[in-house]
């Protein structure tokens, strides 16, 4: 197993679940920013050939719908957007046979190198968050839409794995902007670097920054007793934190035995989309 990786900067996302409406603006922004081909076109293509289409969609940010499982007036719902956790101890990095994914850059973003990946999908088997998706088919851009590719992210070919990278290109732009302004690129101001999803969210549910920098809002946000991370017990050390004032939401961040205050029978399953 790879050792625990520690950097001076730790880019982290803090998602306030109590503010997520499930509107999908983050997913839409992510899809456009990262040159992801329109997925409905992809699905139609597979259907027309008679291939199974379940879970073949490319999406880096998935919104899960959580429920407290109660009925009537006590029922409550929450939405949970899930990008790549950029784990401090990634289960994917240690297993990639070609080092196509690594955690070796200041800031801690787990990279995914498309020209290196040969599509063995071992990393997908190891990730419990389902953050990684595979290009089962060629990306299909309807005629004219390829004119709208951003310069930010290369278009991936069939047969490679891809995942959220916290809009790494935006970090590069922010660092360049800092250099041009004569500032320290290793000490970006709060908000100078924001992934597309965090920027788009109308209700401001997604905060982003360096948790090791006291000038960044997320530095304090993660100290809240209402902050939690998904599946912390497994030891992945995610860099995505969630905040909720609701007890039942926090309890669904990890697996708990009944004796630990968990629900009898364990997880109650949530509604998955797509």
């Amino acid at each position: 197993m790879a050792g625990f990786k520690e950097f001076n900067i730790r880019w982290s996302m803090v998602v306030d679940i109590d503010k997520c409406t499930g509107c999908g603006a983050c997913m839409t922004a992510c899809n456009k920013e990262n040159n992801i081909a329109p997925q409905e076109e992809a699905k139609t293509r597979l259907e027309s050939k008679g291939f199974p289409t379940r879970f073949k969609k490319i999406e880096w940010l998935t919104i899960y719908e959580l429920s407290n499982g109660k009925q009537g007036g006590d029922h409550d719902t929450a939405f949970l957007p899930r990008p790549c956790m950029q784990c401090g101890l990634p289960s994917c990095v240690s297993v990639c046979p070609a080092i196509a994914t690594d955690k070796n850059e200041e800031g801690g973003i787990v990279s995914q190198i498309y020209p290196r990946c040969f599509g063995c999908r071992y990393c997908m088997a190891s990730c419990p968050y389902h953050a990684r998706v595979f290009n089962w088919d060629q990306p299909i851009f309807p005629e004219g839409m390829e004119k709208q590719l951003t310069p930010n992210v290369s278009v991936r070919s069939r047969g490679v794995v891809e995942k959220c990278n916290f809009c790494h290109h935006r970090m590069m732009y922010a660092k360049d902007a800092a250099r041009v302004a004569g500032e320290d690129p290793e000490k970006l101001a709060d908000g100078a670097y924001m992934p597309a999803c965090a920027e788009a969210c109308p209700t401001g549910a997604i905060s982003f920054g360096d948790v090791k920098n006291p000038e960044h809002a997320v530095h304090e946000l993660i100290k809240s007793p209402n902050a939690f991370r998904l599946l912390e017990r497994l030891g992945t050390d995610p860099q995505v934190y969630y905040v909720s004032t609701r007890d039942w939401v926090r309890k669904q961040g990890d697996n708990y035995l009944e004796s630990e205050g968990g629900v009898a029978g364990g997880n109650n399953g949530g509604a998955h989309h797509g």
């Binding site: 291939f51 240690s94 999908r121 389902h130 998904l230 669904q252």
Partner: protein, 433 residues
């Protein structure tokens, strides 16, 4: 028509019949090859039923299964060449061929399974020393080369090829170095069989397959090696028996079969001892510390029920161990083969649950169970590999001296006997099967 190519002193069916047989195999080869080509060229893996939840599916199960079952090659080789158990020389050629088929078949399926086959060599050029899969890639590739080296002398012993002096000498020299090659093969095999298990055991984010271990090796590393050597010899015996049924000849005498199965049974018992311990440790430590319970690991409605585990451990574990270890049962051919079949089935179940069930189980509390059923795009190439195995074995059986005992067990009556001879009683009861 091709009688000149047959080994000394054996009879084979007519060439026409053989071509028909090859044609029959060819149907399955072609059907699978069509799917493979469609995947490699126009359609990609989108053609399959694999998806983002089930990145591993039938092919990985199939690969792990046939690699485990092909372990008869290295283990028999180890026992024959290093530990010098002479009896095994009667079957070692066959185990090498089975091993060759299993490993080359697995490599072919893997080339299909990865998204970018042209980049497969990146695993060698940019190896990740922390990854079990890197280890697997290196060792399987090297071991396949070893198997080829072990197979070559058998090929060169084809009656016609053997007449060529240089080839005869090469074959002869190979036999000299065979213990070295066998030892190398055993070393490589132990590691990659283990690493295949290690691949699962290190996934600390998948509590179903996560295991603690010794230093960098999770317990699954050792369990996979032992289960492979438990099932490998038995599989080789089953292959021989199947060939005997098809050809109507006795190829290996029952004593050797019993010996192989006894070896398998012994290793199976050893495996089960550790497997029970491991399962208990997993259930009482790994699961609870991940916040999960035993019941959460199974889903009967989707086909991932507890019954699979009990089938693996008891029906296909304890029972075949008893059958294969108890001389009384082992002497009954039917029970011997039943034991071997159950043994191999149990190992395949193990590979299946580690690959597919592991991915079906949700880890995030708000995630769900999903089931996976392979489609024809996946079955086709798998059946193609099985047909490929039939092809290799058919060619090897027809043209190569695979079975040293064949002539002795299947005497060919000489044409036009000079005078009628009184039938004589044979002393003792020959052991036939």
């Amino acid at each position: 028509m091709d009688r000149a190519l047959w080994p000394e002193g054996v009879e084979r069916c007519s060439f026409g019949k053989f071509l028909l047989w090859l044609g029959f195999i060819g149907i399955f080869l072609a059907a699978g090859a069509y799917e493979a080509v469609m995947i490699l060229l126009p359609d990609g893996l989108a053609r399959t039923a694999l998806d983002n939840y089930f990145g591993f599916g039938l092919w990985i199960t199939f690969d792990l299964g046939i690699i485990a079952l092909g372990a008869g090659a290295f283990f028999t080789g180890l026992l024959k060449y290093i530990l010098d158990i002479k009896e095994l020389e009667k079957i070692v050629n066959l185990t090498v061929i089975v091993g060759f088929i299993c490993y080359s078949g697995a490599m072919l399926v893997l080339a299909l399974d990865v998204g970018q086959p042209l980049r497969s060599w990146f695993g060698f050029w940019h190896p990740n020393v922390h990854s079990m899969l890197t280890e697997v890639m290196f060792c399987i590739s090297c071991y396949l080369m070893v198997l080829i080296l072990e197979f070559i002398p058998n090929i060169l012993e084809n009656r016609q090829l053997n007449k060529i002096p240089i080839l005869h000498n090469i074959a002869h020299n190979f036999h000299y170095v065979m213990p070295l090659i066998a030892g190398l093969g055993a070393f490589l095999s132990t590691f990659h069989q283990g690493s295949l298990g290690g691949m699962y055991g290190v996934l600390f984010a998948r509590p179903y397959i996560l295991r603690d271990g010794f230093f960098i090796w999770p317990w699954t590393f050792f369990l996979f090696v032992i289960s492979a050597v438990a099932s490998g010899p038995c599989f080789s015996v089953l292959v021989v028996k199947f060939m005997e049924l098809i050809t109507g000849k006795e190829l290996v005498d029952f004593k050797v079969k019993k010996l192989m199965c006894r070896i398998g049974g012994t290793m199976l018992a050893l495996y089960l001892f550790f497997k029970f311990l491991d399962t208990w440790a997993w259930a009482t430590d790994v699961l609870p510390r991940s916040g999960l319970t035993w019941d959460q690991m199974f889903n009967d409605a989707l086909g991932y029920g507890e019954w699979l585990l009990w089938a693996e451990l008891f029906l296909c574990g304890v029972i075949p161990a008893i059958l294969l270890l108890t001389p009384r049962f082992r002497n009954i051919p039917g029970l011997l083969y039943l034991g071997a079949i159950l043994n191999c089935t149990g190992i395949v179940i193990n590979r299946y649950v580690f690959t597919v069930q592991a991915l079906a189980i949700p880890v995030m509390p708000f995630d769900e169970w999903y089931s996976y059923t392979p489609n024809w795009a996946e079955w086709g190439p798998s059946i193609m590999i099985i047909a490929y195995g039939f092809l290799i074995l058919s060619l090897a059986y027809r043209y190569l001296p695979v079975f040293p005992q064949e002539t002795q067990l299947n005497p060919i009556s000489a044409p036009a006997a000079p005078a009628p001879v009184e039938p004589q009683d044979v002393e003792g009861e020959p052991e036939t099967a």
